[in-house]
């Protein structure tokens, strides 16, 4: 089977990959690049635990083929913190206790980040609409919504 060459801007760095055409972005990230922040949950695009930012938009990496992405920009949860300093949205999740088992958290944070980057002052309804893309089976969402609300007042709007 032919291999497929893909150039990506991954977490701010240019990378060139040689992938199988049937490889998903999640497989590329986790198995090839050892970026295991995106989680392998349902594998069918339903749960959102594999969410990454693709050209700034929250995207389920388990149902995107890496071959589709030549020329795209991908940001994973690993890119958010500045060294050991968490991003404001990560701080908010910690402060509000919006984490229980943690499996959905990278996806939740990136979905929140995607929302805040395009709308730095979302209403509660807009937060709920965005966050309902991701399933959490522990927290009941209350703390997560509070965390995003708190982050919306501290997150620096994208320039």
């Amino acid at each position: 089977m032919e291999r497929f060459k893909v150039k990506l801007q991954l977490n701010g760095e240019a990378v060139e990959l040689d992938v199988n055409p049937s490889e998903t972005l999640l497989e590329t990230l986790r198995d090839r690049l050892e970026l295991t922040g995106a989680k392998d949950g349902c594998g069918l695009g339903a749960c959102g635990s594999c969410t990454v930012l693709l050209n700034g938009l929250p995207t389920r990496s388990c149902i995107v083929l890496t071959a589709e992405l030549d020329g795209s920009e991908v940001s994973t949860i690993e890119s958010l913190a500045d060294g050991t300093k968490p991003a404001p949205v990560q701080e908010s999740f910690m402060e509000k206790g919006a984490v229980q088992c943690g499996f959905c958290t990278p996806g939740m944070i990136l979905t929140a980040k995607g929302l805040l980057d395009r709308n730095s002052r979302p209403t509660k309804e807009e937060i709920i609409r965005s966050i309902s893309s991701n399933l959490c089976r522990c927290t009941g969402y209350k703390k997560i919504v509070e965390a995003v609300e708190a982050a919306s007042s501290t997150e620096t709007p994208k320039t």
Binding site: M1, E2, F4, N20, P21, S22, E23, T24, E27, G43, L44, G45, A46, G48, T51, L57, P58, T59, R60, I63, V64, L65, A67, E68, D70, T111, G114, R129, S130, S132, S133, N134, L135
Partner: protein, 314 residues
């Protein structure tokens, strides 16, 4: 993991895409957003030799005001389309159906053409190959009989597009481009009324445009589902009122949207329209909800929707 191995192609125009389809002798699939196709490949429901990605064909992604018609590129993303002013101003039923489609993240990936051409669904079909093999393949997988209604020789899978019922109430037309011809037909003519093969598509044909008559309408969309987000519809109702005529479409209870025209959306007319639909549908136990409940929700959803739309117009 996708176990089947395929080649990947990224054509720049429709002609090249169709040519590639022929090159792979029909054992190719067209990829749009992938939110239906990639899970299907993971479950082994599709095992193509090639995946032809249509996303780099720019004219397929645009929305255009053509005067009498709005032309919607089938590769337009659900999320972009629901924020499009033309859609909001002219087609409230479509706008509501776009908002109700899945969830925000999947709307950012999924396209309206992909939503229309998503395959029909069944609790006994959208399962892993391991699961399906243990039960024996059903009609839709090439087996002898249905697994949802044991022994039946008819497939009962449901067509779960949210946007198709809305587009049917707006009298939308579609353009299909294939190896031999480009043809334009009413969206309602796309459906075979057979759930195992729901679309009347020729091999290699690509949905290249959706045309909606540019007429001001009032309308809406109601969707029955277990969760408020992500889920496919378990029943849906769309209604548009254009030029003094209403159209109701009921979805997700069979292989196509059931469309009924009504002159005046009076209480009696709604009852009559619902009767027409009820005579055609046979919901069975192939979703997470009881079929009898889904059937009894048809008049409820239709009545609620039409009354809300007509109240709003006063």
């Amino acid at each position: 993991m996708i176990t089947s191995k395929f080649e990947f192609r990224s054509p720049k125009d429709v002609e090249e895409a169709v040519r590639l389809y022929r090159e792979f002798q029909g054992e190719a699939v067209y990829l749009s957003g992938g939110t239906d196709l990639v899970p299907r490949m993971k479950l082994g429901l599709e095992k193509p030799k090639a995946v032809i990605d249509l996303k780099r064909i720019v004219p397929l992604t645009t929305v255009e005001d053509q005067g009498d018609w709005i032309r919607i590129g089938p590769l337009a993303r659900i999320f972009d389309l629901k924020q499009n002013d033309l859609v909001g101003d002219y087609f409230p039923a479509l706008e509501a159906s776009l908002e109700a489609t899945s969830c925000e993240s999947l709307q950012m990936r999924g396209t309206i053409g992909g939503n229309l051409l998503q395959n029909s669904r069944c609790l006994f079909y959208n399962q892993s190959e391991f699961w399906r093999r243990s039960k024996g393949f059903c009609l839709k997988m090439g087996g002898e009989s249905c697994n949802a209604v044991p022994g039946a020789k008819t497939c009962f899978a449901n067509y779960c597009s949210d946007n198709a019922p809305a587009l049917c109430t707006l009298s939308a037309e579609i353009e299909l481009s294939g190896p031999d011809e480009v043809r334009r037909l009413n969206l309602e003519e796309l459906y075979t009324n057979k759930a195992d093969k729901p679309f009347d598509l020729q091999p290699g044909e690509i949905l290249t445009a959706i045309f909606v008559p540019k007429k001001k309408s009032i309308g809406g969309y109601e969707k029955l589902r277990v969760r408020g987000a992500i889920d496919y519809p378990l029943l849906s109702a769309a209604f548009s009122f254009v030029d003094g005529t209403g159209k109701l479409a009921i979805g997700a209870v069979g292989p196509k949207p059931y469309v009924v025209e009504m002159k005046q959306p009076s209480h009696d007319a709604i009852g009559e329209a619902v009767e027409v639909v009820l005579k055609q549908v046979r919901p069975v136990g192939n979703t997470v909800l009881d079929p009898d409940y889904r059937k009894r929700m048809i008049p409820v959803l239709a009545g609620r929707l039409i009354n809300k739309v007509m109240e709003g117009a006063k």
